[in-house]
């Protein structure tokens, strides 16, 4: 028997993803449908009666005529209009129980589609605590739909939903409400209000804790200071908290290299394993703790409800450069990786604003740059305290700021030239604060860790092996005579004016596949040259590079469009080669100019 296909539908912040994680145990596949930019999470679970169910997590949206790309994708998927995707058998409509009054009309809107559906009043525990008492049986009768209450993170909180689903599946065909198109939004709101008054026993109060926290967090002066402090804490944490696990991974990689060196005869196989695979992949995997620290903060900010506040606080500033507060979330995600950031820009309704956000997203310092920054900083910036702060942390913070400043300047110019247009509205719900659920948090973090390790195990592994090969052959050749050296020598003259040497030229080529590969490539290039690497790559660079070169390299990395996956995502999301080439061109030009200027200034003063 084929599995039932369920789709999770609801407004943003109603707990869809948590329910998805809870039902599927976090085992998800991100599916891509040919021809369309439809991308959604798909997972599987089994009901208590043993039925197999395929679950689709749709993006959150309001209303059935959403203007954001995200919302259109969801609505198309519900209606079965998405290319290559059959309509779901049943909709699980989620609503935050505390917002029932405000959102009930959207349930009526969905019901009018006449599709089999079940309504879950989610976060019922929080709503009950705020005083909501509701006659669920009566709501069920009046709506003519099965209704359950749920607490998405708890197994017991999902039991009623599963049980009712099983009962619905017993019927063939699945029960569905009558289709009733044509009612206006205004009429639906009126019907919803009558219905609400009928089923409500006691109305909830505005969540007290949320009000109290917002009095501080959204305070016109304290609010921005708290946001700045949080962002600063994030970047300090990325450095100091990750140090111990990073040392451990570093030592583990070194020990593994030694072990293999001692066990195997000195042949090309040993060189491939030690200099290629272990040195290359190891130098990237070591950054896992930092990447997870950054993602942990982003996940907590999202799950707790703070992220929307940050967008609220940033809206004014961002609207001055022609962006929308909503762009804050895609841009902050881009600090982890520009790819989910560019996709998150789908929440922005105006195409022009979305395009601006996509074009500047690669300037946010993504986690793939962390390996490069950390390596150069560790090699060239002394460990010193400046007041209460670690100098290395400050330099890192400065690099992040340069990226942001570059993005602001670029957005400012773009909005006045190529993406000119009317200012777009901001209308955004600020969710009630809640404690992030530890299990849900760990599942999401686990997903990120696996995605990163998968990259390390595939693209990065392949690239480091390729680099090892190009740098090691023809056998016995010096680096300059090797295949890699010949390729690097071609671009070396272009890079010489900005202070880059042959080794950098070689490392930049595989760095196009993924930025962090450049570190693995440098590791391999110097390892192949038999430079004594006992003190780590940082020590090698310290003696091999002059300081202006190191600084120019950092400046290059702030801007360079060095990741084909990002460019491919820009192409897919803008559906335009023109904009993709534009993004590549302007980023490359900025990188070259910034590196050149840094090198020239550093030569002059140092």
């Amino acid at each position: 028997m084929t599995a039932f296909r369920l789709a999770l539908v609801g407004a943003p912040n109603c707990g869809k993803s948590t329910l998805f994680n809870g039902l599927t145990g976090g085992r998800a596949k991100v599916a891509n449908y040919p021809g369309a930019t439809v991308e959604m999470r798909k997972g599987w679970f089994r009901t208590p009666k043993g039925r197999d169910v395929e679950l689709i997590d749709l993006p959150g949206f309001y209303g059935l005529t959403p203007r954001s790309m995200d919302g259109r994708i969801a609505v198309d998927a519900i209606a079965g209009r998405a290319a290559g995707l059959a309509p779901p058998d049943l909709l699980v409509v989620l609503i935050n129980a505390a917002n029932l009054k405000t959102h009930l009309h959207s349930v009526l809107q969905l019901r009018a589609l006449g599709r089999p559906m079940i309504l879950a009043l989610n976060m019922i525990d929080l709503a009950t605590r705020d005083g909501l008492v509701i006659d669920v049986k009566k709501l069920e009768d009046k709506l003519g739909l099965p209704v359950v209450t749920s607490r998405a993170p708890r197994k017991a909180g999902r039991a009623e939903l599963l049980e009712k689903l099983d009962r619905m599946f017993d019927a063939d065909p699945l029960p569905h409400p009558p289709a009733n198109p044509g009612a206006s939004l205004h009429e639906l709101q009126r019907d919803a209000r009558v219905l609400y008054r009928d089923v409500i026993v006691s109305e909830p109060m505005m969540n007290r804790a949320t009000r109290a926290i917002d009095d501080v967090v959204l305070h016109p002066i304290a609010g921005p200071l708290i946001l700045a402090a949080i962002l600063f804490l994030v970047f300090q944490a990325v450095f100091s908290w990750s140090a111990a696990p990073m040392d451990a991974i570093d030592q583990g990689v070194a020990a593994l290299g030694d072990f293999v060196t001692r066990r195997l005869p000195d042949t090309w196989v040993r060189s491939l394993l030690v200099d290629g695979v272990i040195a290359g992949v190891g130098s990237v995997v070591v950054f896992l703790p930092q990447i997870l620290t950054l993602f942990a903060f982003i996940l907590i900010m999202e799950a707790s409800g703070y992220m929307a506040r940050a967008a609220f606080l940033m809206d004014e500033l961002m609207s001055r450069v022609g962006l929308n507060g909503r762009a804050f979330i895609p841009l902050l995600s881009s600090f982890a990786c520009a790819i989910p950031g560019i996709m998150a820009a789908r929440v922005i309704e105006s195409e022009r604003d979305r395009l601006t956000t996509i074009l500047i997203a690669p300037l946010m310092t993504c986690s793939a740059r962390i390996p490069v920054y950390t390596l150069i900083i560790a090699a060239f910036v002394p460990v010193e305290m400046v007041g209460p702060f670690n100098l290395q942390g400050l330099v890192m913070f400065g690099l992040y700021l340069s990226g942001v400043a570059g993005a602001v300047a670029v957005a400012f110019v773009l909005k006045r030239t190529v993406t000119k247009g009317r200012q777009q509205p901001l209308i955004m719900e600020l969710p009630t604060y809640k404690m992030p659920d530890p299990k849900d948090f760990l599942l999401s973090l686990w997903g990120r860790a696996m995605a990163f390790l998968k990259r390390a195990g595939t693209i990065i592994l392949a690239m480091t092996v390729l680099i090892w090969f190009l740098a090691s052959f023809p056998e016995g050749a010096s680096l300059r005579e090797s295949f890699a050296g010949r390729i690097g020598a071609l671009i070396e003259p272009i890079l010489k004016p900005i202070g880059f040497n042959l080794e950098i030229a070689i490392a930049l080529i595989p760095g196009l596949a993924a930025r962090e590969v450049a570190v693995g490539a440098l590791g391999t290039v110097y390892a192949v040259q038999n430079v004594d690497a006992s003190g780590g790559l940082a020590n090698v660079l310290q003696s091999a590079w002059p300081l202006p070169t190191a600084l120019a390299f950092l400046a290059w990395y702030v801007f360079a469009p060095q990741c084909f996956a990002t460019l491919a995502t820009i192409r897919r999301e803008t559906n335009s080669w023109r904009w993709t080439v534009f993004a590549f061109g302007y980023l490359m030009a900025l990188a070259y100019l910034a590196a050149g200027a840094t090198h020239a200034v550093a030569e002059l003063f140092l």
């Binding site: 209303g63 505390a98 405000t102 939004l185 002066i221 901001l426 600020l430």
Partner: protein, 77 residues
């Protein structure tokens, strides 16, 4: 009276949504603004206080003054 002119911390009821811009009206209705709903300005954004945070029944919604201006309120509850 327009919602953006309302005093902070003073609850009012929505009288009507200005339909001059039908897209804006639809958008406001979709996030939940409707006649007779209780609204209150609870926070102003930093700097020029341009985004405002409005309580709509039990839901908090951030919007800019331009959007809030499309919502007409009755001054008293």
């Amino acid at each position: 009276m327009r919602l953006d002119r309302l005093e902070k911390g003073r609850p009012a009821r929505v009288r009507r949504l200005n339909g001059a811009d039908p897209l804006m009206e639809a958008k406001l209705r979709e996030v939940g603004f409707a006649e007779d709903d209780e609204v209150e300005i609870v926070h102003f954004g930093p700097l020029a206080a341009r985004p405002i945070c409005v309580r709509l029944n039990q839901t908090l919604i951030a919007l800019r003054a331009e959007e809030a201006a499309a919502i007409e309120v009755k001054d008293s509850l």
